[in-house]
Symmetry: C2
Subunit: 344 residues, 2 copies
Amino acid sequence: MSEKSSKNSKVSLAEVARAAGVSKMTASRVLRGEGGYSEKTRDLVMQKIDLLGYVPNRLATVFAGDQTSTFVGVSIPDLGNEVFAQVLEGIDRKLRSFGYQTVLGLTQHTIQEEEAWIETVLSWQPAGLILTGRSHSPRALEMLRNAGIPIVEIWDLNSSPLDISVGVNHYDCGFEMGRYLVGLGYRSLGYVGTSHDTANAATARLEGFTKAITDGGGSVARQFCLHDTASYYPGFYGTEQLLASGAAVDCIYYQNDAMAFGGLQYCEKLGLSVPADIGVAGWGDMPIASVLQQRLTSLHVSHLKLGQAAAEAMVARISGEPHPTARDTGFHLVPGSTTRQIIG
Amino acid sequence: MSEKSSKNSKVSLAEVARAAGVSKMTASRVLRGEGGYSEKTRDLVMQKIDLLGYVPNRLATVFAGDQTSTFVGVSIPDLGNEVFAQVLEGIDRKLRSFGYQTVLGLTQHTIQEEEAWIETVLSWQPAGLILTGRSHSPRALEMLRNAGIPIVEIWDLNSSPLDISVGVNHYDCGFEMGRYLVGLGYRSLGYVGTSHDTANAATARLEGFTKAITDGGGSVARQFCLHDTASYYPGFYGTEQLLASGAAVDCIYYQNDAMAFGGLQYCEKLGLSVPADIGVAGWGDMPIASVLQQRLTSLHVSHLKLGQAAAEAMVARISGEPHPTARDTGFHLVPGSTTRQIIG
DNA sequence: ATGAGTTACGTTACGGGTAACGCTACGCAG
DNA sequence: CTGCGTAGCGTTACCCGTAACGTAACTCAT
């Protein structure tokens, strides 16, 4: 019910205290419910807080005690890719439930952007950082080491992280899918993904996939799209390019389900029957897969859970509780009908 | 190249100054490039900053009161809906280019969550807030008014916002689509969307849509799904429910394209031919629409641009530059082949 | 009645940076 | 040589809370 203070953009605790006729310290105690004041005083101070529309200044609180802030910096490559949006959602929801705030940084898949963001966000004295990816610039690494705060690297599981790693082993993801497809009899594989300067988790999946395929006596024709975001259209377009290149492929593995769907659409346009003429496999078990007529062969990863696990790891580290260096959030293959059935 | 300080999690400017044999003030001047020091001193201080791995403490700077923070709080309902993810991407990219940081708050479509988040984020003295939606709790409104910082409300354009409104008129979006469908001869419309406690932009679209349809002598059968996120599956499931309810509809309008795609999939499963047996229209011109065989009848809105416009408005307001109270980022109808063609 | 403990406050110092002002040494014009 | 300006740097005060400590009034057991 603040009426007089509508214009007071900055009401300090001292002003509240003065209005209530007590000292700053007493007002502070009331505010924190710390005890050491009478009920009468408490009511008086609370009334003035309400009247003046006092908003606590956490900057001052953090600054005063050497307690750390409740900011957690979170770097995400891009949000056009649904899986990252889900990871971020998982992180923010969980962090918030523990009283922390997410400071976002979209890096556009570059370690330069990440470095610049790290430098800025560190100046806000965050309680910790959650970084997507395991590749960082040398200067970023130095800053991170010097910061002395918890660092959670997510996405591609890392057995020797800076601090804590949460995610899944993307090499294994690719390998398992590769082995599955080899088991189905596919030998001439295609891969469609986006291209980035820095090796990332998608690269790891491709490597694992390629290993499994070559182990099985097959080969992989790769097609990279110069697109930032691994979404529907790059899948569509990449498929067009791959098939136009003359590569004879019997099955295409996509960077993720969204791209796989784009590929499916291109195949349909071309009149190719899936899986009769060509097989299609994705990654991530993304939401769109739940409504398709054909169950898309994919690999399930719970992105929301991954994000939540990352936030839990962060909170545990901040609170000084023990937490394993690496937490594998797991995956499992989802056999679908966009690839041929297991040969009896 | 900090070597000795690897463990010094907190190196203050005073320590840098001491190492360089100058006063804090001189070190501060060097750091800010303010002038008033010799080149020799500058090099010395810079060298010590590097050596000790000093990280500026923006909390202290802001706290000192001479400048506002560079935080901008951004509230988003959820990230499972691609359009919000895109808006957020637009906001963060633009804010970052101006040197501001995004402090995220996912409200899960509730004004209670929004209120709690506003209270917390205000205590960090943000430079401004960008809020999705125009509905806020009474207490939130009071806090926002008292805060005395720029508030940009996005999504549903508001002619009398708290401060600045950026977005599109969702009522008009719905109305235009309704008129278009009436023009195609549809009279028995269906609507499939998600349900939330608070009236939101989707509600406004539905109202505009209903107005246009009833104006045209038709009717709208509504089907709401109890799903938080307006994505593929709710569209699929909602369509199933709507059709199972016995409503005789010749065309279904969906809350967005993702839901429309889910609906298309259900229609296909049911053996309904689109648009011969039933028409389908969406909203948002989402990425998936770009790869479908049939061009989805939809309404184009640039979510990325909307986010960027919101960030620009915020920066303008912070900088004291003039900015119109309401900025309409525009939309246009995209006629597709999931609805019947215009009757010659 | 006296000393000890408790309640309910107030006072002081502090944190990390910056604005405002003070001071010194040097350069240079008159 | 004197006076004044200025480059270059230091000193002080301050921002807003909170920890630590101080203190007056009161309670209560001995």
